[in-house]
Symmetry: C2
Subunit: 273 residues, 2 copies
């Protein structure tokens, strides 16, 4: 098989990475995708870096054996812990994470340098976004905020309405309520959060750019595929192949919010890593 | 050491069981407690029954080696999966779970038999509360509702205010808004939920009994200790010994909501199971 016709492999600890898959499918409509959600081992965020590296290596190996022309690590925890090792191991493949593209996109969008990063507790504690942003714009006054409830809201499919709005106010008003030192960019540093972008934008106001890493990843992937002459050239592609390591019914039910289209349990296949 | 002076061992996958510990400490102020939160392996709810049984066996063994006169499984998932095996293995000790006492308490409180059980997704899917209730009151029209967001709200410490109130309305109004077939008991079938009892009671109204399994467990434990002449007889006890298998800072921070008193990280000890 011609390499150009191979699929792009995407993996995450669960369903959150489907927001990245969605952005990739929109940006690259001629490409085929295989998505692997390692739902049997989630959450990655509470595991040690060594364990996450082992899980990520296994997921990447599975996708590479399946025959993919590029790998996207659609998981913040795995991007922070495992990207250098995966890039070294699969030096012949483009391997993209979500953190660098997200940080670059936020830096491009900010005027003041004041960027607010919303993420999970473990991503905030790890500091990967702050490092990636400050590598591009040293001393940028980045603020990170752990918003665990947004994960639950997104998984429950409560992405608008009173609960989401009240939660967004409670998290964000302390950061955005005063004109002085107000961030001008809100970076969504968790793959679950893009589905909440409309309500977040409503709360912070139209003068704050809401930056969603998934679109930045899609742009970066398009660039690298173009550069290496790996674009499929097809006008349209087949439906993505969706794989999960446990809980197919939940994957389909919760995943439809993230993928932005209905998902039947029959569209997801169980695999053992 | 006299058996009566031994501590009571309590374990859970994380911090939720601290609501049970709190009820036990209130009901049995002369007793000493050792609490083990298996935070390295949480959540139990997404694991297979065989895995949860293995984890529970290890936690129980640790507490028994520590020297306890009774075991309380303060975790719905472990109660459902592992209680029979633990009772058989530690036949010389009182071993209590949370499901049977909670179900008995709900059955005692209902007139119509219409009981609404709020729990996590995995507890609802397992059906243990429905079985336990219908074993006591056959054909009782029990309704189970998965309320995942309540877990996140409790862990975030957002136990009152606008977000908790809006979430409670969104989950409960469909069950309680019509006078016809309205449940008269709301059973909190997750150890995280008692901290939300005031807001839940406000939403369902004063004519619905909100039953919290933790108080039922405390009453059952008092009964069995009395029957076996195992009460310590002391007027007051030392502070509980708090152990966790990972993430002491988070355990202390989140746990203080559940225990209902401030917790410093220095009050929690790391153990390896």
């Amino acid at each position: 098989m011609n390499t150009r016709q191979q699929a792009i492999g995407v993996f995450d600890s669960g369903v959150g990475g489907l927001t990245v898959l969605r952005a990739l499918m929109q940006a690259l409509p001629g490409e085929s995708f295989v998505y692997l959600g390692d739902t049997a081992r989630l959450p990655y965020g509470t595991k040690t870096a060594a364990t996450v590296q082992r899980y990520a290596a296994r997921a990447a190996q599975f996708l590479v054996q399946h025959g993919v022309k590029a790998l996207v690590v659609a998981c913040n925890t795995a991007s922070a812990a495992a990207l250098p090792a995966l890039r070294e191991h699969y030096a012949h493949l483009p391997v993209l994470g979500v953190i660098e593209p997200g940080a670059a996109s936020a830096v491009a969008a900010t005027r003041s340098g004041r960027i607010a990063v919303l993420a999970t507790e473990s991503t905030v504690a790890g500091g990967a976004y702050v490092q990636a942003i400050q590598a591009l714009r040293p001393q940028a006054p980045v603020q990170s905020l752990a918003c665990q409830l947004f994960v639950a809201l997104a998984e429950e499919g409560w992405v608008d309405g009173e609960v989401a709005l009240a939660a967004a106010h409670r998290y964000l008003d302390p950061l955005f309520a005063t004109a002085h030192n107000r961030p001008d960019v809100l970076l969504l540093g968790c793959t679950h959060f893009p589905v909440l972008a409309p309500v977040l934008s409503q709360v912070v106001g139209a003068d704050v750019a809401v930056v969603d890493a998934s679109h930045a990843v899609a742009a970066a992937l398009r660039a690298v595929l173009t550069e290496r002459d790996l674009l499929s050239g097809a006008a349209s592609a087949t439906a993505p192949l969706l794989l999960a390591t446990d809980g197919l019914a939940r994957f389909a039910r919760v995943g439809s919010t993230f993928l932005g289209q209905p998902l039947a349990v029959t569209q997801v296949q169980l695999v053992d890593l």
